[in-house]
């Protein structure tokens, strides 16, 4: 019995210590985050990370972001993953430009289409490990903009922004 309890405790502790895969956020606040939120890749290998929103009650038509990353540890592909069902739909304009260690990213629907509200994926990006270490993908809060159908900036109240942690082995 004692050994059973010990084993059970070890199992529980192990489960708690495992890397958490990205799950649906539980808070009702609107969120901007990466999925997965923690990524492990080997040097020279690539992995996909998705930028997503959750719990957006206000309709958005376009968005722009600036995302910092450590250019010595990872590289970011200058094109977005194509087979993603983005909240901006099939008929959107997406623009990504990598400038040293900053990702300049904009996505917009085109006039005539409706805006989006709710939860979903904005886009997918490819990260490639370059050098061992831990770094992050950090979305600049003050330089994240969401736009309505008229191109006006929409204020998303109580927006929670989370980075992604990347470990390069």
């Amino acid at each position: 019995m004692k050994s059973f309890r010990l084993i059970a405790m070890i199992l529980i502790l192990t489960m708690m210590g495992c890397s958490k895969k990205s799950t649906e956020p539980t808070s009702a606040n609107p969120k901007l985050s990466f999925a997965p939120s923690t990524i492990g890749i080997s040097s020279g290998y690539s992995a996909q990370v998705r930028l997503r929103i959750d719990n957006f009650s206000q309709p958005i038509f376009a968005a722009s972001f600036r995302i910092d990353f450590n250019g010595s540890k990872i590289s970011v592909s200058d094109s977005l993953v194509s087979d993603i069902e983005s909240i901006f739909g099939e008929n959107s304009i997406s623009f990504i430009r990598i400038d040293s260690s900053v990702i300049h990213l904009s996505l917009t629907r085109i006039q005539g289409e409706g805006a989006f509200s709710g939860s979903g994926i904005i886009c997918g990006m490819i990260l490639t490990g370059l050098e061992s270490g831990v770094c992050s993908l950090t979305i600049r809060q003050t330089e994240s903009y969401f736009y309505d159908i008229d191109g006006n900036i929409v204020t998303i109240n109580n927006l929670e922004i989370s980075p992604a942690i990347v470990t390069v082995n």
């Binding site: 020279g44 722009s64 094109s79 959107s92 490990g129 191109g151």
Partner: protein, 782 residues
């Protein structure tokens, strides 16, 4: 009554002399928009008529406007029998045609036609002329002069004659009138104050003698105004309103029911309302003005500006039907914002001045609803059926040129709206100009307020809708240019002050109750003065100079439509190119960062094409400028200025290949716009960009595996780099190097590996790149 007769003669000429069949037959001294000369200029003109049965040579004949009868000589030309000849009296002799070296005054002077000698052949002396109305003889050649719609170089017609109402006598602004009141109680000051402050602006009876000739018993007199009363409350000289038929139904003063006497509060120059309304009347229904000394039982109260009341009498001068609803904006600011269907909400901000018994506000509410909510694409077509849009544009231009911000444009006060139901449209009418020429600031820079970037547009839907519409904004700017260079120019304002100064100078000096000093009066015509604890009152002429200079600069601004980055009038895939070409270029940001589809004006950047690429106006070209392309995709506009459609000739595209390639790589997705953009870019470089670009660095398992004679190895690289692929045996020895340090562009590749050179066994194949190595195993079976 003798005075009207004298005035009549002054107005319509005296001492007309006939000679040799030539007469001055018609003239126009205030030509704003009727007939233009060959250069498109609306100038004064005189029509000469040959009333004889033979052609007459004009060689040796002259025109003048003063005692110098030979001031301007006719060239060697002639007028046929019963023919008409037009001479442009525009002080512009260098123009081709008949153009004199003098102009006519719209306020009154003389025109002389002289023959050889010189001998005076014909002459007419005239008084104030109306804009776009001529004075002409009827019948031609022999009749007296009458106001008429111009019959340029043609016979004057009886049905073109107009009959100005006699109230013009009250507004003769070439003299200072006299209003002498007699109250029936000695404590009239206390009574007037009590009736105004405590009895809700009730009238008080008095007798009026006008210009020592007209006696009106029992007119209504009261104080008036809000801030103008408050600011002068402790002085003897307060603003006053007369109501001529208050106690006697049919009593009028030359047809007028009411009249306003304004005490020039906030205007040391005494000229703001007179000059302001003079300019306004050229563009809008606007009150007439004059000057008058007000006396009570012979005691001078002071010099007042007489301002026409906006009522049914006024309305009749401009509209066929004067029985419709007239609304006035209240003192709390009335922005024409939609407040719902509840009439009570509007009654708290506006007042209905006519048809009060019917009290029907339904059309007013519906007009405001449409003003606020009609979609942009339908705005002009819809609203032109509800509003005199041109008049609204003119008022906005007028308010901006004169920095009249205690108006709809600024405070939301001081305007009327008349619902002309015959035409089915509301017409806007300005009011209360004593704080024009930059006195009321509302927190704005009266000298440099931006013509289109106005901070309160969200509360002023009429102005906002005008400025958001490409065509209306252009009309607005054209009116700005016209006013600023014409009647509101420094020269015109200076000329008006020069005419008014001698008229009122002695009256101002004699006015011991005036609100400011005589020195303030003198100074404020030219320069700024400080009154009332350092309150700045801009000088009339100094304001006109500074404001018009600023407007001239602003009129050189460029217009940007967000998303049309090449300014070719259409938002399409071509608009991605400037964003890429000028990425991270900076310049002057616009007044407001916005992607809204409307004309935005700003000073030109040094790098002019880059200015249009700054789609959102934040002063930097970056990924955010894509938003405007998407939001406004497919929108069109009338192009003003140059287009910067990129000339895709070989030298240009080769020079900017890197930029284009970066743009190509920056665009992601499979939407129609992206495909169009990429296809355009790809076509520039013969499809070099369209090689598929994988997103992952990979080395696939070969197939078939195991293999005998041939196998295929596929690999992909997401970026351009050097690639080496090496085949090793189990001992780690290199047996083949199918790809040897070759620089490859991002893409997917295949190698057909010849297995005949390999013995049976297990091998490894390795790919080496900047991104790292990948190794896989394959098996050869013979």
């Amino acid at each position: 009554m003798k005075y009207p007769v004298i005035i009549f003669l002054v107005l319509f000429g005296w001492g007309i002399l006939f000679g040799q069949g030539l007469t001055i037959n018609e003239f126009m001294a205030d030509n704003l928009s009727t007939v233009a000369d060959q250069d498109g200029e609306y100038d004064d003109w005189v029509e000469i008529y040959n009333n004889s049965d033979a052609a007459i040579s004009l060689s040796g004949y002259y025109l003048s406007d003063d005692d110098n009868l030979t001031r301007w000589a006719f060239p060697d030309t002639s007028i046929p029998s019963h023919g008409f000849l037009i001479v442009w009296v525009d002080d512009d002799v260098n123009q081709v045609g008949l153009h004199t070296n003098f102009k006519l005054s719209a306020y009154g002077e003389a025109v002389n036609l002289s023959g050889p000698g010189p001998v005076l052949v014909d002459s007419v002396s005239y008084g104030p002329q109306m804009t776009d109305i001529s004075s002409g003889r009827y019948p031609d050649g022999t009749g007296s002069f009458r106001y008429m719609y111009p019959t340029f170089a043609a016979a004057n017609l009886g049905d073109q004659i107009i009959f100005p109402d006699s109230s013009q006598y009250v507004f003769n602004d070439s003299i200072v009138h006299r209003f002498n009141l007699h109250f029936y109680t000695p404590n009239w000051r206390d009574s007037l104050k009590h009736y105004f402050e405590d009895l809700d602006k009730k009238y008080f009876p008095a007798q009026l003698i006008f210009d020592d000739s007209i006696i009106l018993d029992s007119i209504g007199v009261r104080y008036k105004g809000n801030s103008s009363y408050t600011l002068s409350r402790n002085t003897p000289k307060k603003p006053i309103k007369f109501n001529f038929n208050k106690y006697r139904d049919s009593q009028t003063l030359y047809g007028l029911h009411r009249l306003n006497l304004h005490n020039s509060v906030s205007d040391p120059s005494f000229m703001r309302e007179v000059i302001g309304y003079n300019i306004a009347r050229r563009y809008l229904p606007a009150p007439r003005t004059a000057y008058a000394n007000l006396y009570v039982d012979g005691e001078l109260i002071g010099l007042y500006v007489v301002v026409e009341q906006i009522d049914k009498i006024f309305i009749r001068r401009y509209f066929e039907n004067n029985a419709c609803n007239l609304y006035k904006a209240g003192n709390n600011g009335a922005g024409l914002t939609y407040l719902g269907e509840n009439q009570g909400e509007y009654e708290s901000l506006y007042s209905l001045k006519t048809n009060e018994d019917e009290n029907d506000w339904s059309r007013f509410i519906e007009m405001i609803d449409k003003l606020n909510y009609t979609p942009s694409r339908n705005f002009v077509d819809t609203m032109c059926k509800w509003l005199n849009l041109d008049g609204c544009v003119r008022l906005l231009a007028f308010n901006m040129v004169l920095s009249h911000f205690d108006s709809y444009t600024g405070s939301g006060r001081n305007y009327y709206l008349y619902d002309d139901m015959d035409a089915g449209r509301f017409n806007i009418i300005p009011w209360d100009l004593n704080e024009s020429f930059g006195v009321y600031t509302g927190g704005w820079d009266v000298f440099a307020q931006d013509l289109t970037n106005i901070s309160n547009l969200s509360q002023r839907p009429l102005n906002r809708r005008i400025l958001e519409d490409d065509s209306l904004q252009q009309v607005y700017l054209d009116y700005i240019a016209q006013m600023s260079a014409g009647p509101a120019s420094y020269d015109s304002v200076a000329a008006l002050t020069a005419r008014l100064f001698p008229l009122i100078d002695s009256c101002v000096l004699a006015d011991t109750n005036k609100l400011y000093t005589y020195q303030n009066f003198i100074d404020n015509i030219d320069n700024d003065v400080y009154v009332d604890l350092r309150r700045l009152i801009p000088g009339l002429k100094s304001f006109a100079r500074i404001r018009n200079d600023n407007i001239a600069v602003q009129l050189t601004y460029k217009t940007v439509f967000p998303g049309d980055t090449d300014n070719n009038g259409l938002v399409n895939e071509l608009d991605i190119l400037p964003v890429g070409l000028y990425f991270l270029t900076t310049g002057t940001p616009r007044f407001k960062i916005s992607n809204n589809w409307q004309p935005w004006r700003l000073p030109a950047w040094d790098n002019l094409p880059a200015m249009y690429a700054d789609a959102n106006g934040d002063g930097v070209i970056d990924e955010r400028d894509i938003i405007a392309i998407g939001v406004n995709w497919g929108n069109t506009h009338i192009v003003s200025g140059r287009s910067f459609t990129i000339d895709l000739d070989d030298s240009f595209i080769e020079k900017y290949r890197g930029n284009f390639e970066t743009i190509y790589g920056s665009l992601s997705g499979a939407s129609a716009p992206i495909i169009a953009m990429k296809a355009l870019l790809d076509s520039l470089f013969d499809g070099a960009f369209s090689r598929p670009t994988p997103s992952i660095f990979s080395l696939d398992q070969n197939y078939p595996n195991p293999f005998n004679s041939e196998t295929i190895i596929e690999y992909s690289i997401p970026q351009n780099q050097d690639v080496t692929i090496i085949i090793y045996n189990l001992l780690g020895q290199e047996v083949s190097r199918p790809v040897n340090n070759q620089f490859l562009e991002a893409g997917e590749y295949q190698i057909h590996l010849d297995g005949t050179i390999l013995a049976t066994g297990i091998y490894f194949y390795r790919i080496k790149t900047d991104q790292g190595d990948i190794v896989r195993k394959m098996t050869v079976i013979k």
